[in-house]
């Protein structure tokens, strides 16, 4: 990278040295004008709103600097909301990764008919955007108290989900529901990566006497690790920010951070508008940490790949 940059600079320097004899026709650098609309849009509708929240988290209502808002987050109820949000996000990201990987590798390596792949990827594209009220309704109709699966299990197999402690409006219920968009996202991202595993690598490993497990552990898995970690971070942020599904499913019976923030937007339930900023800032920090961990792990695994 640095080498190519210096080479580029060197080449530039040489060309100016060559043209230095005759005065070069200098033009104002106007190239940047081409991205001006994009820059304005992104500044107004992505950067500024985020900055507003970050700054607002450290301000009192009259505009002076304070840490009280951040301190206000460390009350038991808000901490509990963050904690359950993080737990749901981690659980649904891990399970989504695992199941998505299993389905995707089944299609890529499992020797299944070729025609399954196209429909699966198309369906994944649709399902990964299936969220909010329709998704909540679909799961209520399936795993709710009178949902078809609950009724079927109760009447045909004598298994009462409710008696077993399963409730759709709970930690596991929300996790199972989130998986409906988490698994397809994993499939969409990991399938190209699995395609990138060359058949030769496997053959080389087998010729050298590696078992299937050894091949996966020592060849395929390290190569795939960056993509898997990246998807994990993405799925985490995806679940952590999901608000429409959560509200449609649980109303306000489960206190997770996005629901709390939504309630704060609607009607200032926390009694302090700037505590809302702090709440949102905390969400950015959590997803930011998730991504920082991803970048750090990826750097490590890529260094190991060399």
């Amino acid at each position: 990278m640095t080498a190519s940059v210096t080479r580029l600079l060197g080449a530039n320097g040489m060309s100016t040295a060559h043209t230095g004899a005759s005065p070069p026709a200098r033009r104002l650098p106007l190239h940047w004008l081409g991205i001006l609309p994009f820059a304005v849009f992104v500044t107004l509708f992505l950067i500024l709103p985020t900055m507003k929240i970050v700054v607002g988290a450290f301000q009192t209502p009259d505009g002076s600097f304070t840490l009280d808002n951040i301190q206000g987050l460390f009350t038991p109820s808000i901490l509990a909301a963050y904690w359950i949000s993080i737990k749901i996000s981690i659980a649904s990201a891990l399970l989504g990764c695992l199941i998505g990987f299993a389905v995707s590798s089944a299609v890529v390596f499992g020797g299944l008919p070729k025609w399954i792949r196209g429909p699966l990827l198309t369906f994944s594209g649709v399902a990964s955007n299936f969220a909010g009220v329709p998704l909540a309704f679909a799961f209520l109709a399936t795993l709710g108290p009178v949902g078809i699966l609950s009724v079927f299990l109760r009447s045909e197999l004598g298994v009462d989900l409710r008696a077993l402690g399963f409730n759709l409006l709970s930690f596991w219920g929300l996790t199972v529901t989130y998986l409906f968009f988490q698994i397809p996202l994993m499939i969409l991202i990991i399938t190209p990566a699995l395609d990138g595993l060359k058949r030769e690598w496997r053959e080389a490993a087998e010729i050298l006497g590696a078992t299937g497990l050894q091949y996966w552990r020592m060849v395929a898995f390290p190569i795939l690790l960056p993509s898997i970690l990246g998807t994990l971070a993405l799925l985490f942020a995806n679940a952590f920010g999901a608000v429409a599904t959560a509200i449609a499913l649980t109303g306000s019976s489960l206190s997770i951070v996005p629901i709390l923030l939504f309630a704060q937007i609607r009607g200032d339930v926390l009694g302090n508008p700037h505590l809302g900023y702090a709440l949102a800032f905390g969400m950015i920090v959590v997803t930011g940490i998730a991504n920082a961990i991803y970048i750090w792990l990826r750097a490590r695994s890529e260094r190991w790949l060399k």
Binding site: G34, A106, G110, F123, P134, A138
Partner: protein
């Protein structure tokens, strides 16, 4: 052995994904007690409020796609052609909506563009529509930019532009040509 395992994984996936859809469809057909009917659908499609909101949603989605394409395609093209050094930064910015939760961005919009701000977008119905469209476009940015950028990479924009410019000096035609080539890569996701 591997095949059994693969079929098992696929079967699990199919079950998990079809059951909720079956359950939802099943409920939607049970408006009349004890028998299946399309009553619920007839009622919904006959409801003027549903028609109104449905048309509104479709219009929002279409406007968002048009706006997103108008914003992203020229930018991606220009960055590839003239400002390749900026590409990593632009890509980083377009990925931000995946890192910052949507509800947080919306919270920022409400505080930044409320009725007492310098740009009171939430003050009027039209302004709110615009803000909603911009919000959708922001959320779709990671997907749109990547799709377009990948499409541009596969067609070697610079060479095509030079080839077209050698025939017609204004570059307009090359833009048209390469935008045609890019079209196939723009299966941009509509906001849900």
């Amino acid at each position: 052995m591997r095949k059994i395992w693969a079929w098992g994984a696929l079967l699990f996936g199919i079950l998990y994904f079809t059951l909720p859809l079956v359950g939802m469809t099943n409920f939607s057909l049970k408006m009349r007690r004890g028998e299946y009917s399309f009553d619920a659908y007839a009622k919904v499609f006959g409801d003027p409020r549903f028609q109104e909101t449905f048309t509104y949603s479709v219009a929002q989605a279409l406007f968002t796609i048009v706006f997103g394409i108008l914003l992203v395609v020229p930018t991606a093209y220009w960055v590839r052609l003239k400002l390749p050094r900026l590409r990593p930064y632009i890509e980083f910015v377009t990925l931000l909506p995946l890192v910052i939760p949507a509800i947080v961005i919306v919270f920022g919009y409400i505080r930044l563009y409320n009725t007492s701000s310098w740009l009171p977008l939430t003050g009027s119905a039209f302004g709110t529509d615009i803000l909603l469209m911009f919000g959708y476009a922001t959320l779709a940015l990671p997907y749109m930019y990547r799709a377009v950028d990948t499409g541009l990479r596969t067609i070697d924009v610079a060479t095509l532009t030079e080839a077209a410019q050698s025939r017609e000096p204004d570059g307009q035609r090359s833009w048209r040509g390469s935008s045609c080539r890019t079209r196939s890569s723009q299966c941009s996701p509509a906001p849900s």
